[in-house]
C-alpha cells in the first residue's frame, strides 16, 4: 500500500525531494559539514531512485500522468472544467524519463565529486542549495506537461546555474561570465513567456496537449509561427547552438568542475524543451520539413564551428565547452532529420533511426562530457591553472584521472568500444541516406574532435613532470567513476540503452497523437 502510494506520487517526489533538500541545506550546514554533505547526497540518491522507479513504470505501463491537487491523481480533465485540463499536470513519457534519468545521474555524480573538490571553498551551504535547485529546474522542465510550468522551471534552472557559474568569483571573471549568462537567460525566458502568452491568447490553455489539439483543429496561423520561432530560437540558444553559443565557453569555462558537468544537462533540458515543443505542440500543425531543416542547419554549424574553435583553445575548460557545442550539433542533426522526414515514408526508412541516434547521443554526451569536465576540474584542483600551456606530465602522478580522461576522450571522439561510437554510428548511417554530405561532415568533425583531445592529452598528461602533485581525493574519483560506468556499459552493451531508454524515447517523441490522447483521454473539448 505504502509502496503503491510512493510509486503513484513519484513524479511529484522527484521534484519535491531536491526542492525540500535545497531549502533545508543551509540549516543542516549549521549542524555539521559532514551531515550537510550526507544530506545532499542522500537527497540526490533518493531522487535517482524515484527516477528509476518511474522509468520502470513508464517502460512497463506507458506514459504516466500526474495532476497536482487532483483526486484521483491522474484526473486530467475534471467534469466541471469545460473540457480543459486546468491543473498543473506532469506528463512523463519515455522521452521525459529518459532525460530525467540523464540529469539525475549527472547531478548525483557532481554532488559526490563536489564534497572534496569544493571542500576548501567558502559558502558551501549556498553552493549545495543552488546545486539542488538547479536539479529541480532541470527535472521540472523534463517532466512537466504545462507550458507556463515549463517557463517557471526554466527560470529556476537559469537562475541557479548563473549563480553557480559565479560561485568561484575568480577575481570577477567568473562573475562576468555569470552576468552574461544571466542576461542571455533572462531575455530567453522573457521570449519563452511571450510565446506562451501568444499561445494562451489563442487557445485559452497552457497544457501542451490541449494547445496542440486546438492548434491542429484551427490550423497553423501567423501567430503560431511567431510563437514557434520564439520557442525554437530561444531554446536553441539555451542549448548552445551556433551562432548563439557565445555564453557557453564563458559559463562552462568559469564554473566549478561539477557545475560545468551539470551545465551540460541543464543545456540538454533546453534541448529537450526544443524537441518537445516542436514535436508535441507544433508537430501536428506546422511544416515539419522546414523546421527540421532549420535544426539540421543549426546542427551542422554547431558541429563544425564548435570543433574548429575548440582546436585553437589552450584553456582546458573553454576547449571542452566548444566541444559541448559541437556535440550538441550531432543531436540537432539526428533529431532534425527525424523532424524533416516526419509523416513521410522516409521516416520509417531512416528518419526514426536518425532520431534514435540523436537521442542516444544526448545521454552519451551527458556521461562523457560530464566526465571530461570532472577530469578538467580534477586537473585544475591539483595544478591550480586551466592553461594547457602550463601543464604537463600529470600522467606520472594522476594515473586514475588520466585513465578517466582517456575513456572520456575516446568516447567523445566516437572510438569503439565506448558509447559515443554507437550513437554516432546510428547518426552517420541514417543521415547518409538523407544527405551524404551531412554525414561526411559529421565524420570529419569526429576526426577533428579526436585531434583536439590528443592535444589535451599530450599537453596535460604527457611529457616531463611540471608539477609535484598527487591523485585527487576518493569522492572525486567516485564521481568520475559513476559516469565512466555508464560510458562503458552503453559502449559494450548499446542494446541495453537502446531497448530500455532510447527506442521508447524516440517513439514517444515522434508520437504527438499518443501524447495528446493520454492527457485528454476520450474527452473532446
Amino acid at each position: 500500500m505504502m509502496w503503491d502510494t510512493l510509486v503513484q506520487h513519484s513524479p511529484a517526489l522527484i521534484i519535491a525531494i531536491p526542492l525540500l533538500a535545497a531549502f533545508a541545506t543551509p540549516l543542516i550546514s549549521k549542524v555539521s559539514v559532514r551531515a550537510r554533505n550526507i544530506w545532499v547526497i542522500l537527497a540526490l540518491a533518493l531522487t535517482e531512485i524515484f527516477v528509476v522507479i518511474l522509468l520502470y513504470q513508464v517502460y512497463n505501463f506507458g506514459t504516466q500522468v500526474y495532476v497536482f491537487g487532483a483526486n484521483p491523481y491522474d484526473l486530467t480533465v475534471p467534469v466541471d472544467s469545460r473540457g480543459i485540463p486546468i491543473r498543473i499536470i506532469f506528463v512523463v513519457d519515455a522521452m521525459s524519463i529518459f532525460m530525467a534519468f540523464t540529469a539525475a545521474t549527472v547531478a548525483l555524480a557532481g554532488a559526490i565529486y563536489s564534497v572534496s573538490c569544493e571542500a576548501e571553498q567558502t559558502g558551501q551551504d549556498k553552493y549545495y542549495s543552488l546545486l539542488l535547485l538547479m536539479t529541480v529546474g532541470m527535472l521540472g522542465m523534463m517532466l512537466t506537461g504545462d507550458l507556463f510550468n515549463f517557463f517557471v522551471f526554466l527560470e529556476i534552472n537559469s537562475l541557479a546555474s548563473a549563480a553557480l557559474v559565479a560561485y568561484r568569483v575568480d577575481r570577477g571573471v567568473a562573475v562576468e561570465a555569470a552576468f552574461k549568462y544571466a542576461i542571455i537567460s533572462s531575455l530567453g525566458g522573457l521570449m519563452v513567456l511571450f510565446a506562451i502568452g501568444i499561445l494562451y491568447g489563442q487557445y485559452d490553455a497552457l497544457n501542451m496537449a490541449m494547445v496542440a489539439y486546438r492548434m491542429q483543429a484551427t490550423g497553423f496561423g501567423n501567430l503560431d509561427k511567431i510563437a514557434m520561432a520564439l520557442f525554437t530560437v530561444t531554446l536553441a540558444m539555451k542549448a548552445g547552438a551556433i551562432p548563439m553559443h557565445f555564453w557557453v565557453p564563458d559559463g562552462y569555462g568559469k564554473a566549478p568542475g561539477a557545475i560545468s558537468a551539470m551545465l551540460v544537462t541543464a543545456s540538454q533540458a533546453s534541448l529537450y524543451g526544443l524537441f518537445r515543443v516542436n514535436f508535441t505542440v507544433f508537430g501536428l500543425a506546422a511544416n515539419t520539413y522546414t523546421l527540421g531543416w532549420f535544426l539540421i542547419i543549426l546542427g551542422v554549424l554547431s558541429m563544425f564551428v564548435g570543433v574548429t574553435m575548440a582546436l585553437i583553445q589552450h584553456d582546458i575548460k573553454r576547449l571542452m565547452a566548444y566541444h559541448a557545442i559541437s556535440q550538441t550539433g550531432y543531436m540537432l542533426l539526428g533529431v532534425g532529420v527525424g523532424l524533416a522526414t516526419l509523416g513521410t515514408a522516409a521516416f520509417s526508412q531512416y528518419g526514426f533511426a536518425a532520431m534514435e541516434g540523436g537521442i542516444f547521443h544526448i545521454i552519451n554526451h551527458a556521461m562523457y562530457k560530464g566526465l571530461l569536465f570532472l577530469t578538467a576540474g580534477a586537473i585544475i584542483y591539483r595544478v591550480g591553472t586551466s592553461d594547457l600551456d602550463k601543464m604537463g606530465g600529470l600522467g606520472h602522478s594522476m594515473k586514475y584521472t588520466m585513465i578517466f580522461f582517456m575513456i572520456g576522450a575516446l568516447a567523445i571522439a566516437g572510438i569503439p568500444p565506448f558509447n559515443g561510437f554507437a550513437s554516432k554510428l546510428l547518426i552517420y548511417e541514417s543521415v547518409y541516406q538523407f544527405n551524404p554530405i551531412l554525414s561526411i561532415l559529421a565524420m570529419i568533425v569526429s576526426i577533428l574532435t579526436l585531434a583536439s583531445f590528443v592535444k589535451v592529452f599530450h599537453s596535460a598528461f604527457m611529457g616531463p613532470k611540471k608539477h609535484d602533485v598527487k591523485e585527487v581525493p576518493v569522492p572525486m574519483l567516485i564521481g568520475m567513476g559513476i559516469l565512466t560506468f555508464f560510458i562503458i556499459l552503453f559502449g559494450l552493451f548499446p542494446n541495453i540503452a537502446m531497448q530500455y531508454l532510447v527506442a521508447p524515447a524516440a517513439s514517444a517523441l515522434s508520437d504527438p497523437v499518443g501524447y495528446i490522447t493520454r492527457v485528454l483521454g476520450g474527452v473532446v473539448p
Partner: protein, 115 residues
C-alpha cells in the same frame, strides 16, 4: 540477450570487436617477444637519432598546446580570423546574433512555413 546493435545498414557488435582487438594485441606482443633483447639501456642505442645532433632535453622538446596545430590553423587563417572577429565577448553582440537568427527563422517560415 542479442549483442548485435542494429543500424540502418547492418549491425555493430562491440564484444566481437573487443575480441578482434585482443587477438591483434596478442599477435603484436608475440612479435615483440621475437625482437632483439640484447640492446644496452642508457647508451646511444636507445637515444633518438637526429642526423648526428644530440637531442635536446625533454622539457625543450615538449610542444605547447598553443602551437600543436600551428600548420592547420595557419592554413585556415582567413576562416579563423572571421571566427575570432565573431567572438567579441560583448554581450550586446550575443543578443544581436540571437535577434538575427530569430528574424531568419521567421522569414523562412513566412516563405516555406505553410502546413
Amino acid at each position: 540477450m542479442n549483442l548485435d546493435f542494429l543500424t540502418p545498414y547492418g549491425f555493430w557488435n562491440p564484444i566481437l570487436w573487443l575480441l578482434v582487438i585482443f587477438v591483434t594485441l596478442l599477435i603484436a606482443y608475440l612479435l615483440w617477444l621475437r625482437g632483439n633483447p640484447k640492446y644496452k639501456k642508457g647508451t646511444d642505442q636507445t637515444q633518438p637519432f637526429l642526423s648526428g645532433y644530440a637531442p635536446e632535453s625533454k622539457e625543450a622538446m615538449m610542444v605547447s598546446a598553443s602551437n600543436i596545430y600551428w600548420g592547420f590553423t595557419s592554413s585556415l587563417k582567413g576562416y579563423y580570423d572571421f571566427l575570432r572577429k565573431m567572438h567579441t565577448g560583448d554581450v550586446r553582440d550575443y543578443l544581436g546574433w540571437y535577434v538575427g537568427i530569430m528574424a531568419i527563422m521567421l522569414l523562412a517560415y513566412i516563405l516555406w512555413g505553410g502546413a
